[in-house]
């Protein structure tokens, strides 16, 4: 499962990997690096133990409006978090039509290959492209069955996080 975290500084993508590392321990990939992370309830419904990179800290997380208030020992950040895959973010907030979905680079890296061409029909979960960062490769998959409308990037060049790789028209035209 991938999550896009926005709101304070540069956007981040945090991927929670299967299987977990053990009881109460998860594997998390962020900035292309994988961590064994401890995550367990600490107090009430708001406080959690986060153990990461050799440090244990208590984190308070409180939903506020659409976002999350995240309080560490001293710092506080107002963040938003949303699933980043398999469903790409819909463009409703940009006022666009609902008839296309974009496949975006979840992190900055080398776009190794693009596996589709415009006009091609793809099944849900088909590989659209392969991206590489921090010596790891990752497949970008089609979030739904449909037709490739546009390919905006070519293999072999650097892409930035969030850059649109391809645009699909889902079967049924969206919604």
């Amino acid at each position: 499962m991938k999550y896009a975290v926005t709101g304070a500084g540069p956007d981040l993508e945090v991927e929670v990997l299967d299987p977990p590392a053990g009881p109460g321990r998860l594997r998390v990939r962020v900035h292309g690096r994988e961590y064994d992370v401890g995550w367990s309830p600490a107090l009430g419904s708001t406080h959690w133990w986060l153990e990461w990179d050799g440090r244990r800290q208590m984190v308070a997380i409180e939903p506020e409006g659409d976002g999350l208030g995240v309080t560490l020992a001293i710092d506080h950040l107002d963040l938003r978090v949303a699933p980043a895959s398999p469903l790409p973010r819909k463009r409703r907030e940009q006022g666009g039509t609902l008839q296309t979905v974009e496949v975006r680079a979840p992190m900055p890296g080398l776009l190794v290959t693009v596996e589709v061409r415009p006009g091609q029909a793809v099944g849900a979960g088909a590989t659209v492209a392969v991206i590489e960062a921090m010596k790891m490769q990752m497949e970008l998959r089609a979030p739904a069955a449909g037709t490739v409308r546009e390919v905006r990037a070519t293999g072999g060049r650097e892409v930035s996080a969030g850059e649109v790789i391809a645009v699909l028209v889902p079967d049924g035209g969206g919604r």
Binding site: W39, L43, H47, L50, V59, A60, L72
Partner: protein, 499 residues
């Protein structure tokens, strides 16, 4: 001398709990009162019995003199402890208690009256040879303009009937004086029903140091050393410590003697605090607080004297039984006030219901807390939730213990000042003891002025993602272990009933 057997506590929160615990060590039956939202509060649970008050608004609850007197009678109380705030410094209440044959645990009504009239009290204190800030008595607007030059700028306009930091205005020059007077007089009428104002010289960066005193009804007065209370926000103390890192042994001795002289000048009886401003090694007495202070535990940790026990004994007419040379201070104590305020959003009050609490403990630690799961934190009452107090053989040990304790502590349900306190006790200037009343303002610069901490951002982002992941998994959780789930739900619901 009339022994106290049943004590009605006309207060709530941590101070009501504190007073109940003092009763236990004296064999006194503690009796509580509670407003509707406090029905499940710790002071209600810990008391021998508790009586409801009609509504939550202070005037109908903990300021409700008529109802409190009725309850005292019905409960067979022979004394009332007002705690701090609410009715603690109200001469009319003290007089009403006396008229009803109840011991008021605090100074007699006439002493409250005398200390409440700041201008007159200052004159009496100055007459006793204790240095006070240049200032005036109650003045009309015209007199104020005339006197301002003699007092000197910057100066403070203060309300004669005031207290708790309310109605205070700083004036930098004669140009601003007339409009500030108009504003202050309006506020004084609104807050205290008393339009009288006086002027006082303002020190831009003093330290706030106060001295605890105990005086019995037989003329004995001792002091228990000082507390440094310079960490303040909006004239409200946030962190206090004893001894003050700013005092030399000589200064400490002179301050103690001045405090006793000031207390004697106003005819003080019971536990009280003489407040001073310290400007390098000059000190000025600003007022006598005629009550138990929020920050009294630091003095208790350092001297070993139970101040609430002393209050009760003095109120019962017992002699002090403690000579100045018997008061021996040991080590260092610091107190942090944990309040329901959001330090990352301008210290706005954070209202809600306490869901769960994790309080620190261990060697040298004391927590005076009014927290309990299910307790509503409302707009009706002060945001103070708990006081964390650390003692150590040295200041360094006390502060290290405090830092660890603040890290241990957590409150779920409302935002608290814990992040501010964690920052403050680790701040290099605070650690060095080099701070004054402007210290707390540095938090705002620190929070707003620095670039986002990348390490914190990454931790927060991972936490946010895991939180969302956890919630997602929960949503799709199959409905397993239903019977057990129902049992647990029922238990939680039944717990909710009681709190």
């Amino acid at each position: 001398m009339k022994p106290i057997r049943r004590l009605l506590i006309a207060n709530r929160g941590e101070i009501a709990v504190r007073i109940i615990r003092a009763c236990r060590a004296l064999g006194i039956a503690p009796l509580a009162v509670y407003s509707p939202i406090d029905a499940g509060a710790p002071h209600v649970r810990l008391a021998d019995a508790a009586w409801p008050l009609p509504a939550d608004a202070p005037a109908e609850s903990y300021l409700n003199i008529a109802r409190l007197r009725e309850i005292a009678r019905a409960a067979g109380a022979d004394a009332i402890h007002p705690g701090y705030g609410f009715l603690a410094e109200n001469p009319a209440f003290a007089a009403a208690c006396a008229a009803a044959g109840l011991i008021f645990v605090g100074p007699p009504a006439e002493v409250l009256e005398r200390c409440g009239d700041k201008v007159h009290a200052r004159e009496q204190i100055a007459a006793a040879g204790v240095p006070v800030l240049p200032g005036t008595g109650a003045v009309s607007d015209e007199e104020a303009v005339a006197a301002a030059g003699r007092v000197g700028y910057p100066l403070l306009i203060k309300a004669v009937g005031g207290g708790g930091g309310k109605g205070i205005h700083v004036v930098d020059s004669s140009v601003d004086l007339p409009s500030a007077l108009r504003l202050a007089r309006g506020e004084a009428v609104a807050a205290f029903g008393d339009p009288r104002l006086y002027l006082e010289r303002w020190l831009p960066r003093p330290r706030h140091v106060e001295v605890q005193i105990l005086a019995d009804a037989h003329g004995a007065i001792v002091h228990l050393g000082e507390r440094e209370c310079s960490v303040q926000r909006r004239h409200q103390k946030v962190i206090e410590e004893s001894p003050s890192p700013a005092l030399t042994a000589d200064l400490r001795e002179r301050l103690g003697a001045a405090a006793v002289a000031a207390a004697r000048a106003v005819g003080y009886v019971n536990a009280g605090t003489v407040e001073f401003l310290l400007d390098s090694d000059a000190f000025y007495c600003i007022e006598v607080n005629a009550r138990l202070q929020v920050e009294h535990p630091v003095t208790e940790m350092v001297t070993g004297v139970d101040l609430v026990e002393a209050q009760l004994r003095i109120a019962a007419g017992e002699p002090l039984g403690l000579r100045q040379d018997e008061i021996v201070r040991r080590g260092h104590a610091v107190e942090c006030r944990v309040g329901a305020e959001d330090p990352h959003h301008g210290f706005l009050p954070s209202l809600g219901v306490i869901e769960a609490v994790r309080e620190p403990a261990g060697p040298g630690m004391r927590v005076d807390s009014g927290l309990a799961p299910g307790l509503p934190v409302s707009r009706y009452f002060d945001p103070l939730l708990a006081k964390v107090v650390a003692w150590g053989a040295t200041r360094q040990v006390a502060l290290d213990r405090m830092a660890a304790a603040l890290d241990e502590m957590a409150v779920s349900g409302v935002r608290t000042t814990l992040p501010f306190l964690r920052w403050a006790v680790r701040d290099p200037a605070f650690r060095a003891g080099e701070y004054d009343v402007r210290f707390a303002a540095r938090w705002d610069e620190w929070v707003n002025g620095r670039p986002p901490d990348q390490d914190a951002l990454l931790s927060a982002a991972i936490a946010a993602a895991l939180w969302a992941h956890h919630r997602h998994r929960r949503t799709v959780l199959p409905r397993t272990a239903t019977a057990d789930g129902w049992r647990r739900t029922a238990r939680i619901e039944s717990l909710g009933e009681g709190s």
